[in-house]
Symmetry: C2
Subunit: 477 residues, 2 copies
């Protein structure tokens, strides 16, 4: 049995003093971003790819499990160790030597430990950005492992859509380096192996470097917060927007009244944009972006959006607050904080075909109202891509005391609705980790489970890497 001391003694020569953490120095690496925590054997922080290879070689040879960790911003528990104190956390936080921009190719090659914010700072002087927008600052390696989506997916796609090449260290005693793809937009030379490491929560290999397609930073944007006339009008409005202004649509976010109210009530310096009227039952944050400059197009994007909205008045919308994008996005991004102030959140990161998203939300709210009337729904989501954060709060002042069995029953019920009744996904953009792997086992069809089992056997037969075993044979039907 390995102890922290013996493992640390073996790893120290591989990564040096700064590369090894023990004891209380490990605390932030053992704590999940929002939920859960564990206990690591030790934390290694390799400073370059060669050090990653050395650590993998040693761990693969001695059958020591590795938990890859980027900026540790994930929400499904996949970047923190379990409580067994038998896993080594491999943090990529020092893996940040390379960040090479090829402006004419609109691509960047970047080490896994560079964060999204750092990447965007590096791209800024070139008029470029990596446009995936979310309420956190993950590392690039973590974004690949999570296949991050965010609020502007409808315009730019997820990480998978923007990944040109990937480098990983394979989980064999050779710690072999695998380079997949190049800085190319067209390359069809056999199976696209890098896809095996995208959206798998760190399973399969250690991600060390990625080449990403990047985009022109918009020179104009326009925003509005609009109140639809009905649930049916929401999809009509979205379709009209795509028809008339589809080149510019970058976000179409749904905010329930409860969600807005939670933010307004509990987040400092946030005002109700509809004041003196109360927040409506439902509103949509519309954002348009134009990479193109007004100089050539003559197009004022905010004026254009306003004209469109005028035309929609009384057809699909009742009211609108226009402009001031910063304030409107601040409201949108404050919902999670506001919801947490109300009590314990029970988060559902789900998606359905967007043609059914309003029906799903209505049906799910009805289930809570009828069978869990002591709970409070704070839902919001990315309507244009079918994603819903159907979050439910067990308020501090609820009529019933917090009960994990009820939470579990609610989770079973909502996920069953999503997957079985609405042809949806039980994890839209947060991925699968220890927190929700039971639903992977429940809802993945047997042939897919068997194929995943074969992949795990191929890539990581000892199940050394990551926190989820997609090939768990006990689960294969």
């Amino acid at each position: 049995m390995w102890t922290t001391d013996t493992v640390a003694q073996a790893l120290l020569p591989l990564v040096g003093d700064r590369g090894l953490l023990q004891g209380s120095d490990m605390a932030s690496y053992e704590q999940g971003a929002r939920y859960g925590h564990g206990k690591a054997l030790c934390v290694v922080r390799p400073a370059n790819v060669q050090e990653v290879q050395a650590v993998v070689r040693w761990c693969a040879t001695h059958h020591i499990a590795l938990v890859p960790q980027g900026a540790n911003t994930g929400l499904v528990g996949s970047s923190t160790p379990d409580d067994s104190a038998t896993q080594v956390v491999l943090s990529t936080s020092r893996l940040r030597n390379v960040c090479e921009v090829d402006a004419a190719n609109r691509s960047v090659t970047v080490d896994a430990g560079i964060t999204l914010q750092e990447l965007n700072e590096k791209l800024e002087p070139h008029g470029l950005w990596f446009p995936i927008d979310l309420g956190a600052n993950p590392s690039v390696g973590g974004m690949v492992a999570a296949n991050t989506g965010g609020t502007r997916l409808i315009r730019y796609g997820d990480v998978r859509h923007n990944l040109l090449a990937l480098q990983t260290v394979l989980l064999n005693p050779q710690g072999e380096l695998l380079d997949m793809g190049r800085a190319l937009r067209k390359d069809n030379t056999g199976p696209d192996l890098k896809q095996l490491f995208v959206g798998t929560s760190g399973a399969g290999a250690i991600i060390t470097r990625a080449t990403l397609e990047v985009h022109r930073k918009p020179q104009q944007s326009a925003t509005a917060l609009v109140v639809p006339t009905s649930d049916e009008a929401v999809l009509q409005l979205l379709q009209a927007l795509e028809r008339d202004l589809g080149d510019y649509l970058s976000a179409f976010e749904g905010l329930s009244g409860h969600a807005m109210q939670a933010a307004i009530d509990h987040v400092p310096n946030l005002r109700n944009p509809f004041a003196p009227e109360p927040a409506p039952d439902f509103a949509i944050l519309i954002e348009l972006e134009a990479a193109s400059s007004k100089a050539y197009t003559g197009l004022d994007l905010q004026d254009t959006l306003n004209l469109f909205l005028q035309d929609q008045f009384e057809q699909t919308i009742d009211n609108a607050v226009i402009g001031n994008g910063h304030e409107l996005w601040h409201l949108r991004h404050s919902i999670s904080e506001g919801a947490r102030a109300l009590g314990k959140p029970i988060a559902f990161d789900v998606s359905v075909p967007r043609s059914r998203i309003m029906d799903f939300c209505r049906a799910a709210r009805a289930v809570v109202a009828q069978d869990f009337p002591f709970l409070h729904v704070v839902d919001f989501g990315h309507i244009a891509d079918g994603g819903v954060h159907f979050n439910v709060i067990w308020r501090s002042d609820a009529s019933k005391a917090y009960d994990p069995a009820v939470v579990s029953a609610l989770r079973d019920r909502i996920y069953a609705m999503v997957v079985q009744d609405f042809a949806g996904s039980f994890s839209a953009e947060h991925g699968v980790g220890p927190h929700n792997v039971a639903y992977y086992r429940q809802y993945t069809p047997p042939p897919a489970r068997r194929l995943a089992q074969g992949l795990r056997q191929l890539m990581d037969p000892q199940q050394l890497c990551g926190t989820v075993d997609f090939g768990d044979s006990s689960a294969a039907v």
Copy 2:
């Protein structure tokens, strides 16, 4: 040893009279679109997924190889049998029952045998299209197997970018059905298994159905054929376009003087757009598209492009022919036909980072001029995505007689330049088939080859399906 008679006798009850072809009825299924032909044991044309399963079950049980074939438009020989008369061609041409449009979700679920043109006819009434544009009418299943790219990739991506779900029949004696993904834009629930079947030339499983994201059909477009002031100016022009009009750019195609001249000289009813001047040494076909209507934006796309070009005059461009998109695209799409009229084409479908594309073309032309002066280069390509059809013609009137050994030496030389000197791909959009698999073996690094070998062992241990063995163990270093 199975004969056509004994196999046909076994398969006939599974697919019926209309589903089985023998003898001379097989001719068009044995002939490659442009190059190569083989000899099939028989051709089966299942009419639905159940019939595909029955055929796979029988073939997997009796170890009979299957060659899946869509519309048979591929260019690397991957959809036609070899000349052994031991393979059954499984044509998806009757697999065309389902074509379900969900307009509000902007998605369509479609059987593998439906062609691109049929799909677009079905989408038209909804104001939608599947915007992948190429000089052929492939089946949807074939497009997935080839990961088709085409001329508008820079705006819409390739098939992989637009694939939401995939159904395949696995190559086991159960002929098991594997459904992967749903009509969702955000769905991160474990390994994305459908990626294993995209761009693999029919290896791994029989593709039976796909769900695709589709797009709003543009309401405006604008075109121009421009002459750059220099090679360096080409990338400057592209970057300026993306900066000033990036929301609209849908094509940026390079046409060499030889390419234009071949089309003008040999394709009926095609005129030189620069007449009375001769065709220039190099020109770029620019296309802009706006999904958005002029009604809301006030934007006339052709006027906008013209203003941009005025501004570029003497900076990056010398001359421009504007408007008449139909005529300009006809010139672009006639190059292959024109080139074939000159003699035997030696095709190179390659890509490099677009920042190096003009350098690559110059260097490759110099190699031909110096070491193969009797050959004639007819290059054109997709500059914005780094793709080049660096085609070389062995003219009928060449000073040296056609010599396969010289062709082989040229292929080795050009591919080595692309892959080793320019960090490029030896097959940008045509994929890998029997015609070019030798370069897959040569240029795929050993760890990637071993992983591909493991995948093949997992998905098709008998190597029953397709015409390329990406896991060829004789090739694994």
